[in-house]
Symmetry: C2
Subunit: 463 residues, 2 copies
């Protein structure tokens, strides 16, 4: 690994200013106040929390400025040179220089770098289908998307919304549009929503969607969009039906913005994300990558995956900032930990699902338990369902999934901690978890799940 | 260690039927349906959750029967012989026999045992002060206490309540009586409430008490109670003042009911609790002890402590049931994990406080961070304060304390899991904790706390 301390006058160029790029820039400036840090962002907005967008559109969040973590002024005050509306067109690795295009003036400029960070993010997957360019067919990725969509739902008479894709964003948007009083249809080509969870757990979310009036179409593929003569969306056409729609939202996931890196000869990896080592260094020692454009090391699989999440982008950004300066540290890895609220039910997941264990040829077993989020005799208790996936040979925990009340699903962190520590279910069941009637049952559901897994493991071994 | 499988016809006697006793009885009957299991309980009620009592008294829980985990009929159906209102007067270890007194008929009876489980629980500490016997001076330990107190607050004109002791029960009762519209005063002889937390964290609970109208008297010792001519409480007298009171509740903690065991020659240990080994076996191999009457092994201190909590009683009861049969397993140990709700603020703790580290001569350092329970831009976020106590030599986590919203403090389980796994703060900060705006900030407060501890540790080592 190439390593060199950034000298005070070094030039650092960062491409992207949303999450990883912003984190890195501030980290570098704090560590090396004398360094020249230039950040290029093709959009207008910087350093915002796109995770808040579904709630901004629904009106739960009133002011989009509250989602901005660091304003242009924060960059300025920190002494970071921020170039918004600047599209970086190319990277010349030999010269150590990038070429940027000012989108407002059309002017080109060149900027030399000693170290370069790629934080170019990801873009919504837009399938190349007929009618995808129609007015009323949108994706939700950037703050600009959010502002446009918000304006659209406020100004236009939108009654029928079709969401395509039942992942985190798709499910959050289902809640958004039901909240706004729309008729909501959700299509997923998989036979389940939330492909990052196993079908048995995802089915609990499906029930909640249906209960709240969402028309759910599983195992149904998008074919085309049909517009009216004015080029406005009229219908969403799938392989199984045609649905009138005033608005169609594509929530099919994202792909890494890695073209720029690829064109420069930087190696791309899993899912064409920028390939990085554990130090977030790319194939080019002077170039680092972080966030949604880059691979992420998976703690359990012990290899890189593509798993773009806001938490990871923040952590990788900060770490890349560190490593660009001097404190070379390993990226510890992800577990794919995530939580999502879907109306009155929430879900959490960490580590491997059964499906993922299978795909990775890891032997697995699992248990599901049904409990309550707190003492049944204390008012307001709600169902809580926990699934544990574990290794049948040694009882090592492989993953966990939780569906329950909003207050209960952060228990997934207990499982993420157990995964990080490499605990077996027999140790997990020993953890002294906290109890009082408003918070848990005296046997915490996590303990109940671990006990169930442990008993099953013993029975299997006795066979 | 003496070990012997319970044969199908063995007689098991269990003294106590509230928590540990009930858990054990059912466990034994499931494992050995042919065993004769006799359970003796001096009170009328069995197998109830005393943790719910403050909420029953406040009216949050309407029906006390909902707090009963297993009724008399459940015992019957399981084939367990249940003797309520039976006081066990003595244990004859040579004969393998107990003598019980039927409190209703006054009849004595003798019962032989092959194995005996002491699950005699604990009693409220009643200080031998003048006036402690007055009507209106009560403690809250048993369901019977709860029913009496509930009746009292419903029927009598009680306006002024003084709670003595600011531990879990004292604080819950402060909320109870404020909810009921009483004028509430809380006395604690310590300079802080919640002696199981450090003063800096406990102070956040004190603020919440005061904010809700509780008159807080810290560092003030109870001296006597003064009654009227009818023997009814009139005043609570401390070393610093006299307070009019219609009701005084003693919440000074508990002491183990261990006299019976001690009289029989069974060894008592810490705080005069029944001494047990890791298998919950007492000094007498045929006799086990579990729950609030017994010691509990502390996972970090690696020695027995007295730390009576409902979770532990349940777990020890079940384990004792197992070990009385055949599956000799070690009690894994406690961390003193607990959560408590105090009006709109909740608190959690696990492992060692600074004070406990000091008492145990363990070098320690700590950090406190202030964050929010979820994304600031998502409505309803509340402050969340986390303290981590760790070993300055190697960064090993020693304990954690959390004060925040009701939905946020079960994060203490993440710390309990980290303690169980023996994680350092540098590994804790690496855990991929789950995020979405309604559940957390993108940097989860636990990660923020671990980062702060890690940075401090590095700074200290560079000095």
């Amino acid at each position: 690994m190439h390593r060199e301390k950034v000298m005070n006058k070094d030039s650092i160029v960062i491409i992207g200013a949303i999450t990883a790029g912003g984190s890195a820039a501030f980290k570098i400036k704090r560590a090396n106040p004398g360094a020249v840090v230039k950040v290029f962002e093709s959009g207008e907005h910087v350093s915002y929390a796109s995770c808040g967008l579904p709630y901004y559109i629904s009106g739960v969040i009133h002011d989009y400025n509250s989602m901005v973590a660091r304003t242009r002024r924060h960059f300025q005050e920190a002494g970071i040179e921020l170039y918004t509306m600047h599209d970086v067109k190319s990277i010349d690795l030999n010269k150590g220089e990038i070429t940027a295009n000012d989108l407002e003036t059309g002017k080109k400029s060149m900027h030399g770098f000693d170290k370069l960070l790629l934080a170019t993010g990801a873009s919504s997957i837009i399938p190349p289908l007929e009618g995808v360019e129609l007015a009323g067919v949108v994706a939700l990725r950037t703050l600009q998307h959010g502002l446009s969509l918000k304006e659209m739902v406020c100004k236009q008479d939108i009654r029928k919304v079709v969401i395509i894709g039942g992942g985190y964003v798709g499910l959050e948007l289902a809640e958004t549009f039901v909240t706004l009083g729309k008729e909501v249809r959700l299509l997923d080509k998989l036979p389940q929503v939330m492909g990052t969870m196993d079908p048995d757990m995802a089915s609990l979310l499906e029930e909640e969607l249906i209960k709240n009036g969402v028309k759910l179409h599983k195992g149904e593929s998008l074919v085309a969009f049909e517009g009216d003569t004015k080029g406005k969306l009229r219908k969403v056409i799938s392989d199984q039906g045609q649905y009138e729609a005033d608005l169609a939202v594509l929530a099919l996931g994202v792909r890494p913005n890695s073209q720029l890196a690829g064109d420069a000869g930087i190696k791309l990896g899993v899912n064409r994300a920028v390939a990085v080592d554990r130090y977030l260094q790319t194939s080019e020692p002077r170039v680092f990558a972080a966030g949604d454009c880059a691979e992420a090391y998976h703690r359990l699989l012990k290899r890189n995956v593509y798993m773009p999440l806001g938490t990871t982008a923040n952590k990788q950004g900060r770490l890349a900032g560190d490593n660009i300066c001097e404190a070379m540290s390993l990226f510890p890895g992800v577990l794919g930990s995530a939580v999502v609220k879907v109306f009155n039910v929430s879900a959490g997941r960490t580590g491997l699902t059964e499906k993922e264990a299978e795909e990775n040829n890891l032997p697995y077993a699992s248990v599901i338990i049904n409990s309550r989020d707190h003492a049944v005799y204390y008012p307001g208790s709600q169902p809580l369902c926990i699934k544990l996936v574990y290794s049948p040979a040694d009882g090592l925990l492989l993953g966990g999934q939780i569906v329950g009340s909003e207050k209960s699903v952060k228990r997934i962190d207990t499982l993420a901690t157990a995964l990080t520590a490499g605990l077996t279910i027999d140790v997990l069941r020993e953890v002294d978890l906290a109890y009082a009637p408003p918070f848990s049952r005296v046997w915490d559901p996590v303990t109940v799940a671990a006990n169930a897994a442990s008993s099953r493991l013993k029975r299997e071994h006795m066979k």
